[in-house]
Symmetry: C3
C-alpha cells in the first residue's frame, strides 16, 4: 500500500472564488505511481470548500450567485458577534458545501467526467493564501 | 490490498430522478470479497449527484421539490448563455449535493442505516443513460 | 493494511444539535496505530449529518438557523403523510448536508484546520441516542 501526500498552496481572491485544481490532482496521481486507489482532496480551514463543477465562465458566476442567495453576505450572523470578522456567511457556506472530496483512481487515472472539474472554493471575505491537501492511497 | 471497480449503467428520467443503488452496491461488495475497507460511489458528470435518503414515496417527491425551491429550473442562469442547453440549474444542484460518497465496509457488509439508502440523483433536464462508478478498496 | 472500526454512541437533543467529535476521532487514530491513511466518519441513519465547522457559540446558532431557512420545520412534507412522524425536514437536511466525511491521516494525525472541527448534526425532531461510525484505513 502506498500513501502519497501533497499540499498545494493557492492564492485566492476570496468571495467564492473558484479555482480548478484538476490538473494538479492528475499530476499528483501520476507522480505517486498509484495505479488503483482513492484520491482525497481536503481543505483544512473552516471557510473553504471543495466540489465538482463544469469550469466554464457561466457557472463561475452562477455558483457564487447561488451562494449569495442561499447564504447572503450582507446580513449579520451570530458568528460575527463572536469574532467581529464579518465572515459568518463564509463559515456557513463551507459547512454546506463541504471540505472533503474523494475520487476513484483506476488504471493510473483519476476518474471524473469530461466536463466535470475538481474545484476549490474560497468562501472567505478576503484574499487568502490557502493550503489544499491532496492525499492518495492505493497501490 | 484489493481494489474492485465496477461501472453501473443507469437509465434515468432526469429532472431530479432518484435511483436506489443500494442493492447493486451490496452485490459489488459481496462479489469483491472485500471484508474491511471503503466503498466509494462516484458519478462522473457535472449534472448528477449521489446522497443517502430514506427511499419512500413521500421523500421521492420532497427532495425534487427542495431542489426546485433552492435552485429553480424556471429561470435563466449564466451557464445557459454559454451552452444554450438550459440546464444551468442541473449543474448547480450537482455542485451543491455532490458526486461522491464513501461508506464503510466492515465484516463483509456496507454499513448504512436500515432506512437509509444510497441513491443517485440525475439533475439533468432530460432522460439520460448514466454511468456510476462503484470503487471498493480494502482487504 | 490496517482497518480500524469504532462506533461512538452519542446522546443528542435533536433539532440540529451539533456535537463536536474531533477529540474522539483523534483518539481513535492514536489507538489504531495508523500513521498514514484515511479517516471516514459515517452516520448510519437518514436524519443525521456530518460536516466541519468552527465550533463556537455563534455558529452553533447560525447553522441551525440556516437549516431552518433552507428547509423549514414548520410546514408539511410528503414524507409526513407516509409516516406521520413529522420529521420530513430532518430527512431532507440529512440528504443535503450528507452523512459521510473523509479526512486524511498523515504522520499519525488527522489533518484538519485549527478552527475546523468535525461535527455530527442530529436533524431529527426529538432527542436520540445515535451511533456514529469511525472507520480508519491505512498503515
Amino acid at each position: 500500500m502506498k500513501v502519497f501526500n501533497q499540499t498545494l498552496t493557492i492564492e485566492t481572491k476570496g468571495f467564492s472564488h473558484i479555482i480548478d485544481i484538476t490538473n494538479q490532482l492528475e499530476s499528483a496521481v501520476e507522480e505517486s505511481g498509484i495505479e488503483n486507489g482513492t484520491a482525497l482532496v481536503f481543505v483544512p480551514g473552516s471557510t473553504g470548500g471543495v466540489t465538482t463543477i463544469e469550469y466554464e465562465p457561466g457557472l463561475l458566476k452562477d455558483f457564487p450567485e447561488l451562494m449569495e442567495k442561499l447564504i447572503p453576505s450582507n446580513r449579520s450572523y451570530h458568528h460575527d458577534q463572536t469574532w467581529h470578522d464579518g465572515n459568518g456567511f463564509s463559515h456557513l457556506r463551507s459547512s454546506l458545501i463541504g471540505t472533503s472530496l474523494v475520487l476513484p483512481i483506476y488504471r493510473g487515472s483519476v476518474i471524473h467526467g469530461t466536463w466535470q472539474q475538481v474545484v476549490i472554493v474560497d468562501f472567505d471575505n478576503r484574499p487568502r493564501r490557502r493550503n489544499v491537501v491532496i492525499h492518495l492511497l492505493g497501490e
